[in-house]
Amino acid sequence: MRVLQIIEPAYRATLEEQDDTVLWFTRAIRAAGAPADVLLCGTAVNYSVRGQDAEGFRVGGWAQRHPPVIEHEITKLMESGARVAALAEDLAERGIPTESMLPGIEVLSRRSLGGLCAQYDRVWKW
């Protein structure tokens, strides 16, 4: 049973969670045997950008030791065999050039969405 995880909101509670909760969930269900792939759209296309740094979060005398590293999350997903794609139109809207993206992320047009979804048994939009 193939699963497509469509992720739209980005950076939701990532500092508190030390990751993106849907990327984390996807890694967890893949570890349980789910053949789950990821499509980034909306603000989440920003997850495809290399070199992001979330260090430096401090509250009073408390300092975060392990900030989220989304690049690592995406890379680990792809290393586990997951297909990760991002929507071309949403990348273009945000001025994200393909050369700034993590290698291995596919760029798909919005027109291909229907055909993409048809390849999966479950499509979960987050």
Binding site: T21, V22, F25, A28, I29, A32, A34, R122, W124, K125
Partner: protein, 134 residues
């Protein structure tokens, strides 16, 4: 018996999606469709028994008159409805999400699990609806 899986993510008293999700689950159970629920992130607080109804001075109603809704009562009502209807009902709270929030005191019948449980629930269901927070 057909079974549906729902993943809920919103914390109580924040979004209309919560009431909508409970209405969908209620409708499924009334049609003798089994339901499995995986509560992720803020949704683990839905089943917390510490929720308390309150009076409402703005409404001009006492505690008893106000009869303020509590989602944990809704979870309990769904468990009772499923039992009366003789259909499957399973509510699993994401364990790490429970720990983060201290959401340990929950309605009897709610259990603790992981995304692996969600995947198993999905495999045992005719379909799965994810209702994420925004």
């Amino acid at each position: 018996m057909s079974t549906l899986t729902f993943l809920l993510m919103d914390a109580p008293y924040e979004q209309s999606r919560t009431a909508t999700a409970f209405r969908l689950i209620d409708a499924a159970l009334r049609r003798k469709v089994g339901v499995r629920v995986f509560a992720y992130e803020g949704a683990v607080s839905l089943s917390m028994t510490g929720q308390k109804p309150h009076a409402n001075a703005v409404h001009g109603r006492t505690l008893e008159e106000e009869a303020h809704p509590t989602p944990h009562a809704w979870v309990g009502a769904l468990i009772a409805l499923a039992r009366e209807s003789g259909v499957t009902f399973d509510w699993v709270n994401c364990g790490l999400c429970v720990d983060e929030r201290g959401a340990n005191e929950v309605v009897e019948g709610v259990r603790r699990g992981s995304p692996a449980d969600f995947w198993k629930m999905n495999l045992e269901s005719v379909n799965t609806l994810v209702i994420p927070t925004r």
